[in-house]
Symmetry: C2
Subunit: 300 residues, 2 copies
C-alpha cells in the first residue's frame, strides 16, 4: 500500500533539488544562467527543462525536472509481465559539458516510479566522464560517493559502483564511458528497507551532485590546455554520443515511447568529432586515459 502523499513529497523534493542545483551551478560558473522551458505531456504531467550555455565554465548543459503520469506504456507492462495500470514517474536528470577538456563531463539522475497496482521504486546514479582521467580526481569522486552511500547502507557503494561499471560501458569500443560512479534501479521497499529509507538515500545522491561538480569546476577550470587537448575532448564527446544513442536505456526508452526529444537529447554535447582510427601515442596522456577506461578499477 503506497502512502498517497509519498509521491507528492518526492516530487516536491525533486523540484527543490533542481532549483538548488541550478543555483549552485550558476554561482560557480559566474556567467551562464539557466533558461527554463516548461512543457506539458499530452498524456498527463510535464516538466521544466533548464538549459545553460556559453557560461564561463559550462559550455552546454541541462538540468531537467519532470513529473509525468497516465497509462503505463505497453513496453513497460510487457517487461514487468503486468496488466494495464496507471503510472506516475518523476525525476531530475543532469548532464554538463564544460568548455575546458580539463573539466569532466558529469551526469546525474534520480527518479521515482510508481504504479496504481502498488509497485514503486527509485532509480538513479551519478557518474563522471573526464576527458583526461586524473587518478586523484577519480579517487576524490569515488571517495565522496562511497562515504555518502556508506551513511545509508554498507552494500550500496560496492553494489552500485559495479552496476555503474557495467552500465556505462561502450561495448563496441571496449571502453567504459568514463570513470563510472554509482548506478541503481528498482530500489524498492523490502529486505529491511522502507520506501522512506530508499528516498533518504536518493536524497543523499541528489545532494551530493552540487558539491562534487562545483569542486571540479573550480579546481580544474584554471588548468591550461591547447589545441591537442581540445581535439581530444571532441573525440571523447563523440564517444559520449555513441554511448547515449546506442546503449543508454533511458534515452532509448524515451525515444521509443515518444518522449520529449529535446529534453531527452539535452545530454548530447555542443559539438563532437569522429576521426577514422584516431591515433594515440603510447605513453601520452590520451593513452593513459584509455588505459583507465576499464571496468573494475578500485578507486577507493
Amino acid at each position: 500500500m503506497i502512502d498517497t502523499d509519498f509521491k507528492t513529497t518526492v516530487t516536491e523534493w525533486f523540484k527543490g533539488l533542481q532549483d538548488r542545483i541550478c543555483g549552485a551551478l550558476e554561482e560557480t560558473d559566474g556567467k551562464g544562467t539557466f533558461l527554463e522551458d516548461a512543457w506539458h505531456r499530452p498524456g498527463g504531467g510535464g516538466g521544466r527543462t533548464r538549459i545553460i550555455g556559453q557560461g564561463n565554465i559550462l559550455e552546454k548543459g541541462g538540468v531537467g525536472f519532470s513529473a509525468v503520469y497516465g497509462k503505463t506504456p505497453a513496453k513497460i507492462l510487457a517487461a514487468l509481465g503486468l496488466d494495464e495500470a496507471d503510472f506516475y514517474a518523476t525525476g531530475v536528470s543532469i548532464v554538463m559539458h564544460p568548455h575546458s577538456p580539463m573539466v569532466p563531463i558529469i551526469h546525474m539522475n534520480v527518479r521515482y516510479f510508481e504504479m496504481s497496482n502498488g509497485v514503486s521504486w527509485f532509480g538513479g546514479g551519478i557518474d563522471l566522464t573526464p576527458h583526461y582521467v586524473d587518478e586523484a580526481d577519480a579517487r576524490h569522486f569515488h571517495g565522496r560517493l562511497k562515504a555518502m552511500c556508506d551513511a545509508h547502507h554498507p552494500t550500496y557503494y560496492p553494489q552500485f559502483k559495479a552496476w555503474a561499471d557495467d552500465y556505462f560501458y561502450i561495448k563496441h569500443r571496449e571502453e567504459t564511458r568514463g570513470i563510472g560512479g554509482i548506478f541503481f534501479d528498482r530500489l524498492m521497499a523490502g529486505e529491511g528497507f522502507t520506501a522512506e529509507d530508499r528516498f533518504r538515500f536518493v536524497q543523499g545522491v541528489g545532494e551530493s551532485f552540487a558539491p562534487l561538480y562545483t569542486y571540479f569546476m573550480r579546481k580544474n577550470s584554471p588548468l591550461p590546455y591547447g589545441e591537442r587537448e581540445k581535439e581530444w575532448q571532441m573525440v571523447r564527446r563523440g564517444r559520449y554520443v555513441e554511448f547515449n544513442l546506442v546503449y543508454d536505456k533511458g534515452t532509448k526508452f524515451g525515444l521509443d515511447t515518444d518522449g520529449r526529444t529535446e529534453s531527452i537529447l539535452m545530454s548530447l554535447p555542443p559539438q563532437a568529432q569522429w576521426h577514422y582510427n584516431y591515433p594515440t601515442e603510447s605513453g601520452s596522456r590520451e593513452d593513459h586515459t584509455l588505459r583507465l577506461l576499464r571496468k573494475g578499477i578500485a578507486w577507493t
Copy 2:
C-alpha cells in the same frame, strides 16, 4: 542450388567497383586521396576500408569493401528461423561528408549474402542527404535513379523509393534523414527473376554512384556559403549521427555482432553539433529544408 562461382563473380565485381568509385572521387576532388586499411576478420575473410579526408571538396568519407564468411551469427539464424549454417557476405559501403554545406552527404551500399543451405540475396540502396534541399537537385537525383531502375524492372523504383522513405526516417524528429533514394533487401531469385537479373540490377545501382555524386560535387562545390550555412550543416550532421546510431540496421547489427567498429562508424561525420531547440526562422532556407524532409514526396 547456387553456382559456386557466382559469389566469386559478385565479390570480384564489388572489388572493381570500389576501385572505380575511389578513382572517380579522387579525380573530381582533385586533392584528397584514399588511404587503404586492409583488415582480416578472425572468423573468416576481411576487407579493404578506404578513407579520404581533407580533400578540396570531400572533408571525410569512406569506401569500404568486405568479403567475410564463417558460421552464421545466431541473431541472423534466429531472425530467419534457420538451423546452423555457414554464411558468405560481400559488399561495398560508402558515405561521403563534403566540406561545403551546399554539397549533399551521400550514402550507398550494395551487398550480397549467401548461406550454405542455398539461401541467397542481394540488398542495398543509395540515398542523398542535402544539408539544404534543392528541388532541382532532388528531381535530378531521383530521375536518374528511376531511369536506372526502370531499365531493370518497372516495379523497382516505386517500390524501392517508398522503402527508402520508410527506412531513412528519424522517428523521434519526425523527419526523413534526407531526400531518400532507393533501398532494397532480400532480393532473391524467383518471381520471374534469376540471381543474375538481381545482380545486373545491383551492378546498375553500384555504377550509378560515381556519375551521380561527382555531378553534385562539381555543380554545388562552387556555391557560396557563410557561417550560418556552416552551423546548419553541423546541426544536420548531428541528425545524421542520430539516424545512424539509433536506427540504422546495418550499424546496429555490426556493433551487436562485434563487427569492425572503425569500418562501421566511418559513416559518422567529421564533426557535428547539438543545440537545444535549434531555432529555424519561418520562410528561411533551413525551414524550407525541414518541410521537404518528409516521406512520400514524388520527385519524378
